[in-house]
């Protein structure tokens, strides 16, 4: 899993007034890549029940990173154990999106403040 930030196709993280929820986008990935019928998925669906084995999981993580523009840490990559259900996986992705957005918004503010300092004084 790469450590650099990946440009996501959109900043839509499923929070706020998002049109498509994280869960729905995860369902779309599973439908597209793993021939899982999206309509049959609920927050309680387990990855194990979808026959997502360790290799398929690696591919799923890769697709999640590309779709949401996030980077899943290596330590979390063993998600089959950590995230038994799609609901848990969805929450995990939401947290990473929030962390990414927080980091992105913190940086320009800090730079702007530094830039303003000489002029203000």
């Amino acid at each position: 899993v790469g450590s650099q930030a990946h440009p996501g196709k959109s900043g839509n993280g499923g929070h706020g007034a998002a049109a498509v929820s994280t869960f729905d986008r995860l369902s779309d990935i599973l439908n597209r890549d793993h021939a899982v019928s999206a309509g049959s998925l609920t927050a309680d669906t387990t990855l194990a029940s979808l026959a997502i084995d360790s290799l398929a999981l690696i591919e799923l993580i890769f697709a999640i990173e590309d779709t949401f523009g996030i980077s899943v840490p290596d330590a979390d990559a063993d998600m089959a154990k950590e995230f038994g259900t799609l609901g848990e996986l969805s929450n995990y992705v939401d947290n990473l999106i929030m962390a990414r957005d927080a980091a992105a918004s913190a940086r320009p503010v800090a730079v702007a403040r530094e830039a303003r300092l000489p002029a203000a004084e």
């Binding site: 650099q4 793993h34 890769f62």
Partner: protein
Amino acid sequence: MKRVAITGMGIVAPGGSSPDEFYAGLIAGRSSIRRLPTDFAPQLSTRIAAFIDFDPALHFVPPHMRMLDRVSQFALVAAAQAIGAARLELNDALRARAGVFLGTGMGGANSIEEGYATLFRDGSDRIKPFSVLLAMNNAAAAWIASEYQLRGPSLTYSTACSSSAVAIGEAWQRIRHGETELMLAGGSEAALTMGTMKAWESLRTLATEDREDPAASCKPFSRNRSGLVLGEGAAMFVLEEWEHAVTRGAPIQAELVGYGLSTDCEHITRPQSARPG
């Protein structure tokens, strides 16, 4: 020493993707050489090859398909044909010693090139997570062994043009010496990539296109021959110990009676002409 029968054949080739279709094409003298339909063809000086119109979706479900380079897809389809034709009923005793020997010169060339394009052309580090599985030369043999649970030796030979012949000959040896009753052997190649074509072009070994008839560009033994034409495909055979085949009433296609192996040390590309190589 045991005798060795060929009891099943499978093929995926530009000239036909079943033994019957392929044979009919040979008898009719049909050439499979044509202009490459791939999008990089305009960047090549030599744009002819023997390319297969192959739709992997007809043979594999998407999650499995994405783990298979084109070279493994060809090999698996050819292996399925061969095993079907041999009317094999694989049991545990047979599976425990049966193996897969496969020849390939360039293995997962398409996957290797795709990975390099991502890295060096697109400047991205988003290489497919299955790149290693896709590209490794032994993938095709490993997939076949895994598909049919053949737990004997699974080896991949890479000896340029002789790769598949070596794989078949070595498999013959195993049966001949009584080490196993059953081997799947053959070869697969799927290297019609931009990089591979360019590399051969650069070696100045490719035939120039026949302007009147691209299909006639390969002219072996002709005075106006200009080189070779690259192609792709796979062929797999079921090799079976003779008595085993006879006992189960197998459809014996041929007997493989001999095989020899030596090295022509003359030159890296030019075969010996004076002595048998």
